[in-house]
Amino acid sequence: MKMALFLPELFLLFSCLVVFLLSLGNPAPRRVRNITTGLVVISVLACYLSLDMNGELFYRAYRIDLFSQLFKLLILGGLALLLLFSTELKGIRENTRTEYYLFLLLSTLGLVMLVSCVELLSIVVALELSSFALYILVPMRDDHAGLRTQMEAGIKYILFGVVATGVMLFGMSYLFGLTGSTYLNEIVPAIANIGPTPAVVVGLLMVMGGFFFKLGVLPFHFWLPDIYQGASNETTTFIAAIPKLGAVALLIRVTGMAEPAGDSVASVLAVLAVCSMFYGNLSALVQKDIKRMLGFSAIAHAGFVILGMITLKESGYAFAIYYITGYMVMNLACFLVICKVSSQGENILVSDLTGLYKRSPILSLTLTVGMFALAGIPPFVGFMGKFMLLTNALENGFLTVVILAALNTAIAIYYYLSVVRVSFCTDQEERGPLTVDFSTKLVSLALMLIIIAMGVAPAGMVEIAQSAVKSIMM
């Protein structure tokens, strides 16, 4: 066993330990933040260096390949950007900030391990590690208004999460019962032998349920808007952007197994995708709380990502990876603005953004770029991602799905645009200008650049994603 393969994870674990030791004392929040950010930046570098590594660990339950390493890099990169701009951590009680960082790192560790797991039970363990940390993060909010919505959100999150895990475990028991193995690379040929029996289809779909939960696809979406609204802005940023990468990685692994049962799984996925889009977009239309709105829009975007999987083809998976990466960046851009506009960590209504372009031009520009990108308007990454997914789906004969998805794009524009619209409205009583610190400015510029660069020149990212997908389709 070459532990060098495990180095990025070990470093992350070490980082958790450092933060844990810090939490025992009474450190200045600034110092904790700087140390955590530094550790995460180093782990990004470690991941980048390990991008080409290959190998198996822990009795073949843990695989290191381009696919897993790419996702690790994206997850840690996203976390680094998030830490760089959420400098103030306004929404978290001052005496628990060190612990906040600890659980943030633990949840990331769970995700980072999740994308490498190729055995059912280790998948569950990694997924639960990341989820449990989040169950703790959600109620950690500093509640100025005393509404205690964060408690309600936390309880909902746990309850739905446990149900989703239950469904997933049940599905796994099906797969184990049918194939006699918990290793993905043994299950795949066994399924191919059994063929598309109902048990296989149901088992696969139930396993996917656990990841649908993380991603917010329709029947497992109930938690999402409430948790987005109830958790602090910083926590929501994390939940909105980063665990989705892990979910997509595992969904690709599981749908990759579904080839023999392709037609039935694909048609179920297609229905879920379309329902998610309609449900998410139509509900988002009427939201006033911007985090809640983005929550519903996340359900719609989850539907879009699924479009990459219904084709059960390498190219579709690659486009899904491209899309979810872009989605993470767009979300970070939008939530950056939300975190900064909120003065005490309170929730932001759409109307609170009124006159933003007078208060802070750079924030309003970031918001505009982020929202236009989410809406799928060229030349931003959101458009390119949707375009690729739609092309791929149409190429495989999903004409109706594509037309419905295009229709959804048109619906979604309305609420994204309304956010941009209010930021250019002048309001009656002028609010003071917003000061934005240097590192936030830098991150927002970087996010905008990534959104444009990925949209204009997607070839590089798609190529990497394609070779990553190839590395798991043996």
């Binding site: 739609l390 092309t391 229709l407 645009l417 619209r421």
Partner: protein, 509 residues
């Protein structure tokens, strides 16, 4: 290389330079120390772009219908998307019009824009990049990206620097155009699956099945008809025009609307000729409806900008009429009229902007009788109004005459129905001119108004030059388009023959 593309042999990629020069210029804007500097810089960038575009005119070969000055690079290889550029006789005039208008837009906003000058100029330059790209793109994805990307700067132009109802107008403009384009995207993907390429010229005349053509045509039509805008899809236009700043109105009227008619010429006719032929009567009668509706509504306006905006609906009706009669005169007239409308309506919006800068109102009643104190202004306005109502000797006459001639060859009843439209144009234009030049007994006191400054004369004079140049000697302009239009007609004729052959086949078993 592809046989539809004559590669660029100028020693530098002229089309890419034209597209990216404004973009590069926009990047440097924020490094400039002052707003005044930003204006001069933008003017310089647009002037250099215009100067470079004249090389296109100089070196353009009018003897071929192929795309010239071509550039071809792989862009997104996994989807066979390329960066392909080229211009032919149909797009060259529009490219030239765009580059030549932009400096005038900068000049027209010199005083008008007082706040956030640098972002404004930034938006103008980004607009120029995407507009030029739309007319040059020969790859459908490239085209679509630029076509949509242009919405963002235009949205910002209206939403930030617009009039009192700017937010309403900008969002309406955005939603309308975008809703139309979404289905265009699906059609583009469908065409890609049929052809295995996004190359526009390779999609032309491929003989798709009738049902396929029908659906693709409908998607095209929705997107382009909204952009034009054709009669029932026009409601975003008056709102956007009235609220947009002067430069925004000029760009909207002169270039953006042309993108719709350009879409009809470039995509509908060659790619879906059979569907275009089959649905032609509906489009023609919609055009006639637009001509009459635009005329009557313009007649009722008190706001000068609204008046010109509604007159645009009518004029654009003439253009779609010319396109869909499918004969040489009609299409050449429509193409010329696209340029004419760009020149004339752009100039009229600049004129309204000049009044607005002085009186802070666009009401006819407020502007009544300014002729007494602004003789130079009224002279310009008079010539542009005459051009707008197609007075002989001006550019509008040549274009409208050709379109009507084409329409009469096609269908006499249809053509006769458009005559009241031409009369209406005279009525509303003369009404405006009369009020502005002389007004009546209730003229407000305008003795404080100053006549046009040298800068303003410099803004309008080039447009006036084009009014008479095209009006008196349209040959150089017509020469550019002849071969390409003939080629286009050829493509539609083939479909006509195929259609009648198919009909014969059903009749004779």
């Amino acid at each position: 290389m592809q046989d539809f593309l004559i590669m660029n042999s100028l020693g530098f990629p002229i089309l890419s330079v034209l597209i990216f020069l404004p973009l590069a210029g926009s990047m440097l804007l924020f490094l400039l120390p002052s707003d005044g500097g930003a204006k001069f810089w933008t003017l310089l960038v647009t002037l250099v772009t215009a100067a470079i575009s004249l090389i296109l005119y100089r070196d353009f070969n009018t003897g071929t219908a192929m795309f010239q000055f071509g550039e071809h690079h792989a862009w997104i290889p996994m989807l066979k998307i390329n960066y392909t550029l080229g211009v032919d006789g149909i797009s060259l005039l529009l490219v030239l019009m765009t580059t030549l208008l932009m400096p005038l837009c900068v000049l027209g906003s010199w005083r008008y824009i007082k706040t956030r000058v640098r972002p404004f100029m930034f938006c103008l330059l980004i607009m120029e990049t995407s507009m030029l790209g739309v007319f040059m793109a020969l790859d459908f994805v490239l085209f679509y990206i630029l076509w949509e990307a242009m919405l963002i700067p235009m949205y910002l132009l209206i939403a930030i620097w617009g009039g009192p109802r700017k937010v309403y107008a900008s969002i309406k403009f955005f939603l309308y155009t975008l809703a139309g384009s979404v289905m265009l995207l699906v059609a583009i993907i469908a065409l890609y699956l049929e052809n295995g390429t996004f190359s526009i010229p390779m999609m032309m005349g491929n003989g798709y099945s009738s049902a396929f053509q029908f659906w693709v045509f409908l998607a095209f039509f929705l997107a382009f008809a909204i952009k034009v805008p054709m009669f029932p899809f026009h409601t975003w236009l008056p709102a956007a025009h009235v609220e947009a700043p002067t430069a925004g109105s000029v760009i909207l009227a002169s270039v953006l609307l042309k993108m719709g008619t350009y879409g009809f010429l470039r995509f509908c006719l060659p790619i879906t000729p059979e569907a275009s032929l089959a649905l032609m009567p509906y489009v023609l009668w919609l055009s006639v409806a637009g001509i009459l509706y635009g005329g009557f509504t313009a007649l009722a306006q008190q706001d000068m900008k609204k008046l010109i905006a509604y007159s645009s609906v009518g004029h654009m009706g003439f253009i779609t009429l010319g396109i869909f009669v499918f004969n040489t005169q009609g299409i050449e007239g429509a193409l010329l009229q696209m340029i004419n409308h760009g020149v004339t309506t752009g100039a009229l919006f600049l004129c309204v902007g000049m009044i607005y800068e002085r009186t802070h109102s666009r009401e006819l009643a407020v502007a009544a009788g300014v002729g007494q104190y602004m003789p130079v202004y009224v002279t310009f306005l008079a010539f542009f109004s005459l051009s707008s109502l197609a007075f002989p000797g001006t550019n509008g006459f040549v274009g409208e005459f050709l379109i009507l001639a084409g329409a009469f060859t096609h269908n006499k009843i249809l053509a006769a129905c458009t005559i009241p439209g031409a009369l209406l144009a005279a009525a509303y234009m003369f009404r405006m001119l009369q009020r502005v030049a002389w007004g009546g007994v209730n003229n407000p006191d305008q003795s404080h108004l100053s006549d046009l400054s040298a800068r303003e004369i410099l803004t309008l004079a080039p447009l006036l030059l084009f009014v008479f140049w095209i009006g008196l000697a349209p040959k150089p302009f017509m020469d550019i388009m002849h071969t390409s239009v003939a080629h286009l007609i050829g493509q539609v004729e083939v479909a006509k023959i195929q259609q009648s052959a198919a009909m014969l086949a059903t009749l004779v078993p």
